[in-house]
Assembly symmetry: C2
Homo-oligomer: 474 residues x 2
């Protein structure tokens, strides 16, 4: 092994310069450093960063990359948490932020065509101004790009009622290693011709090709929304609240849980509106027509306050001890601002975080939360649990002080235990973030050797030399 | 080439007998004949029909099939319209109707686990009895099986609001050629670990493996439903009605169109409730809570009767000339019975039918319907158009008399023209039925050589010898 730092050859550099003039090619470490990492803070080694503005440049790049066996890492805003866009082996980083045009919003087709670098909330605002609706809303919505959302099959709060990114991708253009251009699907809302290559790309974490254009399904924009915050006397009572909502036949837009530890954490930054007796909360969004929404809010209150079924024989099946609600964006905003404050305020508890996003079958939520609490106690560490309980998807933030070797060791041990706990419940290592680099070590807990082998063979069909985001995801 | 009819060797027959005792193996032509075809009426050649009751038998079968290079054709109730389950080359037909157990309905997980032979409406009734909801409802719901629905990614009326089968498959077990057992996904409503092999199976038309177990997502059952039938003065006016509904921000459960030709056809079997001035209709279903549904019905009437925007400058943008509605199953049933009567009554027009199920971008619906009408006139044939216009998905029934060689020739020519018309609008050859044998000749109009090559390579990862439903779908 050479002791010299990995670098491009002079010929490779010249070839890249031919494709990417001016500052669309970055080569110096000072320029490439910020492209070496993502929100998960793992570091890799960019040999170069290229910033295409056209599909033709991506084609040229992937011709070169195949000829030179250069690993290629596509990225948007790198809000990914698991290192999915980190150049784990030295290679070419492709920033798609300069391909950020909304190409078309077709009112009558209920379709948008976008380049991958469009920021998710920019698209949402653009379509909402025309009475249309693009539901996927990952927490990083103001930062993340549609290309990144496709690469990770991003979810979000509204996934409960409206589904994840997969449900909205009707077609796409992807450039494959070697420079071939694949166009799949189209503007039809239904299409069953051939194997579903379109959805195969969704969630593939940049391992198959570089997506350069995406056709998205849109819905009519609901007229009105409302948000309820229901505070319960215990975590158990909040989980029974989840059960009562679904048993009442209600499918909310969003159904978020806040554990007692998270409520305490929020209380460090703001004087909370809830009384001390609240030890677990549900944040619930509903939508509908202006006429019917007030009735639905009343119905939700009714479902939450229905006395627990005594036959259940389960302790803690009590209604909320406190609640609040807001109708319309202005009234709802303070409640969602509080929700968004969880992640920043978690650092008031400890300076470092291991953030997991496990999911379990919905009926196992209370078991999972109880098990995670026991792991926190066993390791004497704060673990914050919150998130999309309607989907069985829980964010698990294991907080620790990285300057304290003992806490660091215990945090790592707690992470391993959380993963084993989740798998013992037929849960998944990731409901939203993906695998990237961070979860590769746990993959064997979930994927069988046969599954992994098939995934690799499928990848091989698209990327026979293994240069697209190698060593990631599966 | 041998002139002898294709048949199993004595050894192959003995091996099959070892796996499939008694009448779980059918060998004589009288027994196997009905397994040679599907609802599309194409015929193939079953060398044998096997009827497994266990996964272990399927494993043994696929070991044998690989060793003997025997083509394998899985089937449920064979309600498929395009020959997807016809043994196009002589091979083993695998009827999954004896694997028809509902293994679990998990109220709190909102999940059902089923074997592939469960009839779709049986599952729906079972889950609805427990306040749960499985939305996909292909027209063949009382016949079709969940396994067949997965193989074709079945849609149905409710796809507009609730999506297609793909959206409900959380995991599955499939036996691959050679007998390896693949388990993908699980009971989590969200899961982004690895490539999405689960959805790759959905719509794969039996070309990758035999699915033996399916985990389905369920929703809470909506409390109430209502149905409206709105009759318009013209096809154009009905299409503008579709536009007004979406512009009002309404996403109905179902939004079905009936062309004037279809209304005439229905009138041959029953005295229609609508006046003669109705020359195009929309059949619309809504659902929701008991309290809000009446408001939503009123809102739908409002949207339909909103005067057309003069600025549109489009002729035919007029409100319905007649309408009716029913709330609750009993009142709605006559309207849906009328809808279900379309297919049988179409045979009163002509004894033979070429049934297509194209889809176009939603904004091109009127263009597509107008173009199809022109094709009907040019070939002097009745073409009945109806179906899921909310999804841009239109059933196109080209009616002809198979005893009349001229009509037969014209029907074939009209089919080719419909396919070219659809593709000129960026439409798809199939929104629901799939490709099977029937649409292979048109595939080149839609799939690029690169797409086809990638699909074949993906298939190769699962089925390297090409024995799973060969020569179909892509």
């Amino acid at each position: 092994m050479s002791t010299q730092a990995p670098h491009l050859t002079a010929t490779q550099e010249r070839s890249l310069r031919d494709i990417f003039p001016g500052d669309s090619l970055l080569l110096t470490p000072e320029q490439t450093l910020i492209f070496a990492t993502d929100a998960g803070r793992r570091m890799g080694t960019p040999l170069a960063v290229v910033r295409p503005t056209t599909e033709a440049q991506v084609v040229e790049l992937l011709r070169l990359a195949r000829a030179e066996r250069l690993p290629v890492y596509a990225r948007g805003r790198a809000s990914n948490q698991v290192g999915a866009c980190v150049p784990a082996r030295p290679g070419i980083v492709v920033s798609l932020l300069h391909m950020n045009r909304i190409l078309d919003i077709a009112d009558d087709d209920f379709v948008a065509e976008v380049e991958p670098g469009v920021v998710t909330s920019d698209l949402q605002r653009a379509v909402e101004a025309r009475g249309l609706f693009y539901p996927p809303d990952p927490a990083s919505i103001d930062i993340s790009t549609i290309g990144g959302n496709v690469a990770t099959c991003a979810g979000g709060m509204r996934a409960l009622k409206y589904g994840v990114t997969r449900e909205y991708v009707l077609g796409l253009t992807a450039v494959l290693p070697g420079g071939k251009v694949l166009r799949t699907g189209g503007r039809c809302h239904k299409n069953v011709v051939g194997l579903d290559l379109t959805r195969l790309f969704v969630g593939s974490e940049g391992t198959l090709g570089i997506v350069t254009r995406i056709t998205l399904k849109l819905l009519p924009l609901p007229q009105a929304t409302a948000t309820l915050l229901a505070g319960f006397g215990s975590m158990e009572a909040a989980m029974h609240g989840v059960r009562r909502i679904f048993r009442a036949g209600i499918l909310p837009v969003a159904l978020e849980f806040l554990s007692p530890e998270v409520l305490d954490c929020v209380a460090r930054r703001q004087t909370p509106p809830w009384p001390d007796s609240v030890r677990g909360a549900l944040l619930i969004r509903l939508d509908g027509s202006r006429e019917s929404l007030p009735l639905e809010v009343r119905r939700m209150h009714g479902a939450l306050h229905t006395p627990g079924d005594a036959a259940d024989g389960i302790p803690g099946n009590e209604p909320p001890v406190w609640s609040a609600h807001g109708v319309g964006r202005d009234e709802e905003e303070p409640l969602w601002a509080m929700r968004r404050g969880i992640s920043p305020s978690s650092y008031l508890v400890r300076p470092n975080k291991i953030g997991e996003d496990i999911a379990v079958p919905r009926g196992r939520l209370l078991d999972a939360l109880t098990g995670i609490r026991a792991i926190a106690q066993a390791h004497d560490l704060p673990i914050l649990t919150y998130g999309h309980v309607g989907d069985g998807n829980i964010h698990v933030n294991i907080m620790y002080d990285g300057a304290d070797p003992s806490e660091t060791t215990r945090a790592d041990a707690a992470t391993v235990e959380v993963m084993h706990l989740v798998r013992s419940m037929d849960g998944t290592l990731s409901g939203e973030h993906g695998v990237g680099m961070a979860k590769k070590e746990f993959l064997h807990l979930q994927l069988s050797p046969l599954e992994t082998e098939l995934m690799r063979q499928v990848k091989h069909a698209f990327d026979p030399l293994g240069i697209m985001n190698p060593d990631k995801a599966y």
